[in-house]
Symmetry: D2
Subunit: 414 residues, 4 copies
């Protein structure tokens, strides 16, 4: 048995965490039961690069219940929960992950699990796919197929597909409706508010919240901020989305004007320089700045640093910048994703939907390996629907189904 | 000058109606001004089959401001507003429409405007397109292009495209985001509630409203019913939509169960037999039944008629059916579209968005007639965006635009 | 049998109306059944001045089921539904009411029913109470007690109480929680939106709605306007209410500023001159003005008339005023209560709550006539609670009740 | 200079905390400025028993700005923030408070500040008032007056008033509209959700949340839970409140039935035994139990302990109870107030409103000491209004005021 974790004695603590997650991942739980009976992954070796968290543990256990042997490395040197890693090691997972890996150790771990000669690879960001294609082509050639969890990873794989160098089929789990519609809108919507509350403990009711961007994430945040009693202002660059925001009852204006009004600013655009120097200068004293979009470039931390005359940590996750005018601005989580840095990121329920797509996609690859081409596929619609069905079932909700007559009627006019 | 209307002396009354509509169609108003200056339709003859309403009059005036000569017939024998038709005749439109046309008169009118040898044809339902393709091929061959307002019409045209018999390019105005997203969600959402209130004057707060279907229309209705204080139950056949409804805080269940709970039922599925005999039998005494979807087949009027022991009109738009058990059910607007039959259908603001797409699509065809193929096109994205922009402008709302750096950044990672 | 109505042949039509109302007045329905069994009003003569509508008919039938003999006159010369009056006459009610009474006929009718020597009087506005106290003191002296439906009537009676000239006890039905909290907030909230939609058919989503006053009525309207997708601005003179509006997520500002922003203005303050000349002059072209508060003095029709250069009816219930600047303002229902004038006022469900308080208060007076003093009483809390209980029961809703231990615990610390 | 704190070297850290609080207490900030100019508390000695937190520090500084000398002790042995206490000591406050006082030390501190011979006393819970009345009557006799922050304290003082043993006038700050309406509804509404999120990180959207009690607190929680996407069920014992909940669109039922449906239960009744053994036994596996009402008696922890076969801490603030059936229930914060135990209690904005009433009430007592009787007074309406006005002003919000004509009109009919 091979593995490398920080401290095996943390296993019991990790086990409790995994149990708590499992309670909130009912879809994987149903799949787990199904996999246990049908063993669809019997004899399959899977190498996975994922954040080594309690939710990932529930996915890994599901794959093992299906008969798979699992090798696991971390998708980020800082995100491993050492107690969970220990628990997985005890359960027989070949886990090579600990919090605080060096860059070298991080890549070594990926190399180790790649060399396990997996039939299936699961990746979160594309580093494992990249390693297989660049440094282990022999192994890659024998891979039945892979999945990818993130937008960035899918982007890298699409580039490889375009260059016709992809060595195995990949399913872009990121594109499942039951993933992105749920984690962006409901997941990030809630956890962004959560991050702001944990960081600041301010009262949201009566505040003016400016949300930059009215995509799925921005909508989720706007809805939740309104739900907490805020008056919400939207900024957008796309006129159709801007108009939707208006019709949804929100105020819409340029950031230049919103900058003068807002108490709390939240960016969710996926773009750079959404809030910059000239906006900071217009803001009221005491405003709060948070980013729920991409990286720490949406709120321009660079600009903030350049104009501030002083800076200090006020509370955990809150940095105060004093401008030359004496005005104070409060940046949360250093401008990084506020829901990850200041709260706990996605809840188990949200990861459940995403990982259910992973588990079913893995099975799909195994069962269709002979017909799949070396392409990047969307999650098949039937898997997407199945995940929604299982989620509804886990909630005890039954829905109608079309009768034969109804199906015919729909086909006749559509 | 040729036209045929019921009574020219109604023109003044019609003019007032048109003015009222114009006040609530600011996008067309801006386009009207633009067309007046630039005359992009100079020398263009347009034949249009549309409901002859005050909103259509505003579209026609806009086309004429652009330099066009307009021939107009009704798209439904019963929907013509005679005062509006009279006003248009006085303004120089070749209008052939009156309320209560016979079937023969209806088709004669279409024939008349087809024979005017139009450069552009505008249709609502496809009867004009059909006539040109079947009975006036010579004329059709010289048409620059056409537009189509409805799903049904687009469906017919796509069939013709598939059979390669389309004689000119057609733009499916129906598919513009600024049309279907707005009229379905915001337009029908409001007017369905309006129809129910006018028909019944019941208090919605505290009632259980069952909405069948969680597409754009169903969502709009659910949102508005909740906004009036109802407890809303959704029924759906698609698990992903059903799950969205759950995550939006609604109850979701089978119609068989909802039938026992609801006070008001509203169908919005586009399908047949959504509420049938076995549901009626489970319902509480006194429930209200309305359809906001397709035809009078969603709530099965046939089933209702077959099981009822008696039937009478209680109020305008309200028919009472007594079941053998003595229970009374109230059907609104005979099961036809409740917003059209019991209220006034779409408001001018909603038609404004749709007809702005019409006006700009007509201009687009004229300017691109040499490059357009004999196909069914979606409304070009730039027109769709333009309509949204003009709507925002008419509301005095300014939005941000991407800087060059932002545009590059987006392209770099997407 | 004595009565005076317009046309007895309308009775069948009236009967249908009354049935429809009864279906939506479940609380009175339960009381009706109870009264039928227990006959608490046996031998009691009741004279009532009320709007002669289908809902009043359901109250009258309930009183008769309890054993009462009922004499009925109209509380407004214009509000009588002649078909309902006819149906009541046929049922044996001494009804003296028809639409379009002269002032003299109106007071004659009141005189007639006063002279019937009632044990109990029910009044809506105070004219019957006033007549008894000023012109029929002998009769008044023998009255067991009375009720009063309106704020104005209660005001008049309190003045009489203060002067110690009240000749019988009166219960101020108007002050029941289950009356004013429900009809103001939920009733007027909905029917105001309804009135605006029927008058204008405009789309509310995306509009800026200015609500003057954040009392019960204003809150109801603000909630419903937001529920239809509007952006809502509140004006207030009371800082605590204004702050509540802010904390509820609304914008709050002076009317002077709101006047520049709003698309629709709705007054609900109970005061004069809320919107006046200087506000009209700041408004955007095309705004809509409606009053949901007191009389036609909230929106100053006087000012509007004085500054307008022209005026005309655009649609039923919509008057267009053109200002010297050419700007057009649209006043609904001549500035009178928009929910009454442009829609149908309160729904039967709302009147049900109010009239249930009437019926139970009448019974209460009969049963407590020996202990009640010549004062104005609030509706006893147990009646108020009972009405709520019956309403819940009619909806099939069961609630918890305190255990003995819980009751003791509450008493111990409160 | 006398004081007793844990560690004076924490003063700098405390100062940062106080600054952060001050930024979110704008009403006190305005009063601070006013007090600095007018010195209304010159020569006044104040003894205060309050939670020694950053918000209390802002109140104390305000009183000192007014010229007062302040003596401060903790109102709870565990709630003192030692860094804030240190900062206050450095600023010259006679503070006798540290986290982890013994019961004896707690009462010693109260004794110390009582013996400072205050002109004004501020209390939170009534221990200082009680001490003065029982053990320091001489001192009490010279007190100008006092204030009381809590319901419990007011209750104790009212009992003393009834027995005519009150030695000075007391203002019940707890009863100010700008206190209880805001902290209960907006404060506890938000912080309860916050506590649940911090404890569990579960997704609220799509969950069934059962709120027991529809008073101010319950309303606030219900609104926020709905705002986060939950389906909300209310239980109530008062039929009028229950009916309001129904009319607000919530489901209402008995706890016995809700117990079978809920995912998350939150009690807010102020009563005992709201959720007991028989409810636990009906619940689904995995439900979450939280209390936002009184003490740990609303959710019967006693019952839970008695039926559970095992119990363990799963996460900070989450205790898992396993029932004999194998079902697991998760109790948050041991059943104590979830917003205090699992989150940070009220935000500074909420305390701002409460403490502004304190500061203005203190001034009021000083200025009216000669006319006030030895009674328990409500906060004068003008102070309540003033707090709301200042809060609006701090937000840059201006509201209308009545004209002379409007004032007269109102008086004429009310």
């Amino acid at each position: 048995m091979s593995y490398k974790v920080k401290d095996l004695s943390l296993a019991d603590k990790g086990k409790v965490q995994i149990e708590w997650a499992r309670k909130h991942m009912p879809v994987l739980d149903i799949i787990h039961e199904e996999f246990s009976k049908e063993k669809p992954l019997k004899g399959i070796r899977i190498s996975a690069v994922l954040h080594v968290t309690k939710e990932t543990a529930v996915l890994v256990e599901t794959l093992m219940a299906g008969g798979a042997e699992v090798w696991l490395a971390a998708s980020n040197p800082l995100s491993t929960q050492d107690d969970v890693a220990a628990a997985l090691a005890v359960e027989g997972v070949h886990v090579f992950a600990w919090r605080g890996e060096t860059q070298e150790e991080y890549f070594d771990a990926i190399k180790t699990i790649a060399e396990a000669q997996p039939h299936i690879v699961i990746d979160d960001g594309g580093d494992l796919h990249a390693y297989l294609h660049s440094s282990a082509e022999e192994i890659a050639r024998k891979v039945f197929g892979g999945t990818e969890e993130t937008t960035t990873g899918v982007h890298r794989l699409k580039a490889m597909e375009k260059q016709k160098i992809l060595k195995y089929p990949v399913i872009a789990v990121n594109n499942a409706l039951t993933k992105f519609m749920f984690d962006n809108r409901y997941g990030t919507g809630q956890s962004t508010i959560d991050g702001i509350l944990r960081a600041t403990n301010i009262l949201i009711a009566g505040k003016i919240v400016v949300v930059a961007g009215y995509g799925w994430v921005g909508r989720g945040i706007a809805l939740r901020a309104r739900g907490m009693g805020a008056r919400v202002i939207i900024t957008e660059v796309d006129p159709i989305r801007a108009l939707e925001a208006v019709m949804d009852g929100f105020e819409v204006m340029k950031m230049d004007k919103a900058a003068e009004l807002g108490d709390i600013f939240i960016t969710a655009t996926g773009n750079i320089d959404v809030i910059t120097k000239r906006h900071f200068e217009k803001m009221k004293d005491g405003v709060i700045l948070a980013n729920a979009g991409h990286f720490d470039v949406e709120v321009s931390v660079r600009d903030l640093e350049s104009i501030a005359v002083s800076k200090r940590e006020i509370r955990n996750c809150v940095t105060e910048y004093v401008l030359p005018s004496g005005k104070r601005l409060y940046l949360l989580g250093k401008g990084r994703l506020v829901n990850l840095v200041c709260a706990e990121g996605h809840s188990s329920e949200v990861m459940d939907m995403s990982f259910a797509n992973q588990a079913l996609s893995v099975r799909y690859i195994v069962e269709n390996k002979d017909v799949l081409e070396k392409r990047v596929y969307d999650v098949p619609r039937e898997i997407d629907s199945r995940v929604a069905e299982l989620k509804l079932r886990s909630m005890g909700i039954e829905i109608d189904s079309l009768t034969e007559e109804q199906r015919r009627y729909l086909e006749s006019w559509k």
